[in-house]
């Protein structure tokens, strides 16, 4: 078992609005902000929380597909636009599909653990509304195995993949219970998003969210087992946070109550070319979460707040099981019982998660870390929950459970 041989911390998190359908300022026919806007906005919010940007030793950015969405590569260099103090220092772009943000965090942790850096600026960004959803599906399908899966895949490739998982889950627990679980997950996500002014679903005024969530899937129009409410939307946004050693955050003028300690993390990849061993389980996530919990020396009973990668409602249920909140096959019931609600035993995705806040893919893992840090330091404002335990846990997932980073934070 590998351990954190010195304490590493999270500090000064921030993120932008998740822009896309649902936000009143979003108009697909009008010019919209690009990568540079989101990087500058989120980066400035993080740097405003510290005394000296010059204390940042290096930067790392998570991004999935800017080369296709925005015709832009070389993001490590681009992120120096955040502040002149970042120039002529190491800057790195990492990619692991939707876990790109999680990988950026892992990379920063390793830099600090290696002693090569005391403060790393970690960012994630994605601007996806540059193309219609049907072409966005093409770009996002790059998180699957192009040569082996794309040709026979669904027009909406990943909704198709997770529809298969939803079908398998329904077969395992019963279609009625599964659908109720998905609908309750959707309701919880929107209710939290309504409290988070940056969330894409912040302005969602729908009266009966459960009724929406119970909409029967229409295979002809979309997928066999998922409806549109089961899906996170196409989003633009960025997130940023600092990963620092104790010496590092002291150099930034921060106090212990401003930071949370990274107590453990798990990072792993699974074979992209093979199908999931069990479609009703997130096998790689289970392993990465177990690794993170073991490194932190905690069990789920020690966790007071969770962030999971609910790209689809079914992922939310499967990750509830992966975290250990519920036994395999019991995630839907746990959600129905309110265990993951804001006032539940394990408040989960308190700012809306991917379904409620939005899913600017490369930014999502970093955004999750920001929400964890905010909750554990009492900085979540309108969506703050009562965190009754000292630990928080997150799991950032890329592709169909292929690249995973899980992280345990301690206040």
């Amino acid at each position: 078992m590998k351990t954190m041989h010195k304490p590493v911390y999270l500090a000064a998190g921030a993120y932008t609005v998740s822009l896309g359908t649902g936000r009143p300022e979003f108009n697909p026919r009008k010019e919209r902000p690009g990568l540079d806007h989101y990087l500058k906005e989120s980066g400035a919010k993080t740097l405003a929380q510290i005394s000296d940007p010059g204390a940042i030793d290096e930067s790392v950015i998570g991004n999935f597909m800017a080369a296709r969405f925005n015709h832009q590569g070389h993001l490590g260099s681009l992120m120096t636009i955040v502040d002149p103090a970042l120039e002529y220092k190491p800057a790195l772009r990492v990619e692991g599909a939707c876990a790109s943000g999680g990988l950026a965090l892992a990379s920063a942790i390793k830099s600090v653990l290696s002693g090569m850096a005391d403060v790393v600026l970690v960012m994630g960004v994605e601007v996806q509304n540059t193309v219609k959803a049907i072409y966005c599906a093409d770009f996002l399908a790059g998180a699957g195995w192009y040569d082996g899966e794309r040709k026979d895949g669904h027009a909406y490739f990943f909704p198709g993949k997770f529809s298969d998982r939803a079908g398998a889950y329904a077969a395992k627990v019963g279609p009625g219970l599964a659908r109720e679980g998905f609908a309750h997950w959707y309701r919880n996500a929107v209710e939290s998003a309504r409290l988070n002014s940056d969330a894409q679903e912040h302005f969602n005024k729908a009266g009966d969210l459960l009724a929406q969530g119970r909409t029967p899937p229409n295979a002809k129009a979309f997928t066999e087992h998922l409806n549109l409410y089961d899906c996170s939307k196409v989003s633009d946004g960025a997130a940023s946070i600092l990963v620092a050693s104790e010496e590092g955050w002291r150099r930034l003028g921060l106090a212990r109550q401003d930071v949370v300690e990274i107590a453990g993390y798990g990072q792993m990849a699974a074979n992209l070319t093979t199908p999931p061993p069990d479609p009703a389980e997130m096998t790689t996530c289970v392993r990465a979460i177990d690794q993170a919990k073991a490194m932190a020396g905690i069990g789920i009973q020690d966790v007071g707040v969770c962030e999971v990668h609910d790209c689809f409602t079914v992922s939310g249920l499967l990750l509830t099981e992966a975290l250990g909140i519920a036994a395999p096959g019991c995630g839907a019931q746990a959600v129905l019982d309110g265990l993951t609600r804001r006032d539940g035993l394990y408040p989960t995705n308190t700012g809306g998660g991917l379904v409620g806040y939005g899913h600017p893919t490369g930014a999502t893992g970093v955004r999750m870390a920001v929400d964890l840090w905010r909750q554990l330091t009492g900085r979540a404002g309108g969506y703050q929950v009562d965190v009754r335990k000292d630990h928080g846990i997150m799991v950032s997932m890329g592709g169909n459970d292929k690249t995973v980073v899980s992280l345990v934070a301690r206040r």
Binding site: K132, I134, Y135, A137, D138, A141, Y146, R150, K151, D152, H154, A155, K220
Partner: protein, 442 residues
């Protein structure tokens, strides 16, 4: 010859016009899907129009719309292209589909292009002499088995068929604007129509996912039979109210009643502008010629003489007519006495006050059109309207009664087989929330 074989060579005459371009698009898409399902067959769509720039615009329109259709039908395309290893992404397939659609198009300015066509669709200007000229020529050019489907909306079809010697081979296939979107298709078989043509028309309508309503071959058919008379009712009301309230105020009153009090998508004068005042006049003339029923408006003649025509710009914008438009919304009303537009803002509040109480100002066509509880709300609305004594409510009741009488008249004259058919034309073709034959005000 079955529809499948006939679809291999098709022509559209008047293809670059408003209706012709929509029909051409529907056929181009249908043909492309057929070609993908049957790669060994050859398909040709001949697009004929007098206007070169119109034809170029048409090809551009079909290309753009084919892309949108391909994007909407992505699952279908993925299935159709399943054996094409180089087409992997959605974008690859949409691009291939657009190319497939364009592959079948042939454009030209002469009717000779239609000489091998098994089906000819015609959407020429609604004038007898033009139709006679086209079908005289087509009768000589095309083989005897060619069927003709006309988008004629008012001229009795037996008149064209007999004049041009194509009796049995001509059927009315009357689309509503825009043809690619509107679900309604009025099918008008003239007497002696070949049963095979009836069969081909029914199959084709089903393939194009249209809802057909049969109409008898009597001038104006169901759609214009109702629209023209409904329009004349509003013009008569305008002329009745004008001496007391002035022309522009009177027009505002009638327009608002026909839109807001009857919960229609647009007022009658906006609708006439949309169709074109010149087209409105032309159809009135055609219908009056064959029906001798006093279908005429001196006001329409007068403002056309003043050069006010309405209709659409080539890019689909609304030209000024009875009303002046800014960003598609009416802002002023034409006064034939001064030949100038009077801004509605100058008298709107006063005119609204004159109309008086509205049963439910919050209830609009837009709000109700997607309301699953529409029927119940309409009943409650008209029940309230029935009890109001305001000028607006009175005008609305009179208009509703007139519209119902026109509809029942169409059934009585045998134009429509049933009141339900008239209701269907008005709800599908004119986007009304309810048909004119109803018991809301009984």
């Amino acid at each position: 010859m079955d529809l499948k074989t006939r679809m291999q060579n098709v022509a559209v005459v008047g293809a670059a016009g408003k209706m012709g371009s929509g029909i051409a698009l529907l056929l181009a898409l249908d043909m492309a899907y057929r070609a993908l399902e049957e790669p060994s067959a050859t398909f040709v769509l001949n697009l004929i129009d007098m206007n070169d720039s119109g034809l170029q615009g048409l090809v551009r329109y079909i290309r753009d719309q084919a892309q949108k259709d391909g994007e909407r039908q992505m699952n279908r395309l993925r299935h159709l292209y399943r054996d094409q290893p180089r087409l992997v992404e959605n974008a690859d397939m949409v691009q291939a589909f657009v190319a497939e659609v364009q592959l079948h198009l042939r454009t030209g300015k002469t009717l000779a292009l239609a000489k091998d066509a098994q089906l000819v669709f015609e959407a020429a200007f609604e004038k007898e002499e033009i139709k006679f000229q086209i079908y005289d020529e087509l009768a000589l050019l095309c083989p005897p088995e060619t069927f003709f489907l006309t988008n004629t909306s008012s001229i009795p079809l037996h008149v064209i068929a007999d004049h041009c010697g194509i009796r049995g081979r001509l059927i009315g296939f009357h689309f509503y604007n825009p043809p690619a979107v509107q679900k309604l298709l009025e099918v008008i078989p003239p007497e002696g129509c070949d049963p095979e043509l009836l069969d081909v028309a029914a199959q084709l309508a089903a393939n194009l996912r249209k809802k057909t309503v049969p109409s008898r071959d009597i001038a104006g058919f169901i759609g214009n039979g109702h629209f023209m008379r409904d329009g004349l009712h509003c013009i008569r009301e305008l002329e009745r109210l004008a001496p007391e309230h002035g022309f522009t105020r009177a027009l505002y009153l009638v327009e608002k009643v026909s839109r807001d009090y009857l919960l229609r998508p647009m007022g009658m004068f906006q609708l006439i502008d949309y169709v074109g005042i010149d087209v409105f006049q032309l159809i009135l003339r055609v219908m009056d010629k064959y029906l001798q029923a006093g279908l005429h408006s001196g006001l329409v003649d007068r403002i056309l003489e003043q050069g006010v025509k309405g209709g659409q710009t080539s890019s689909g914008g609304q030209k000024d007519g009875f009303l002046k438009y800014e960003k598609g919304k009416p802002v002023a009303i034409y006064d034939p006495a001064t030949q100038a537009y009077v801004p509605m803002a100058a008298f709107q509040a006063e005119a609204d006050a004159l109309l008086g109480e509205h049963p439910d100002p919050a209830l609009t066509w837009k709000a109700l059109s997607r309301d699953p509880d529409k029927e119940t709300k309409l009943r409650a609305y008209f029940s309230a309207l029935k009890r109001l004594a305001s000028l607006g409510a009175t005008l609305a009741r009179d208009h509703a009664a007139s519209s119902r009488d026109v509809a029942l008249g169409l059934v009585q004259q045998g134009v429509a087989a049933r009141p339900e058919d008239v209701n269907e034309v008005l709800t599908l073709g004119f986007f009304h929330l309810y048909g004119p034959v109803n018991d809301f005000l009984d």
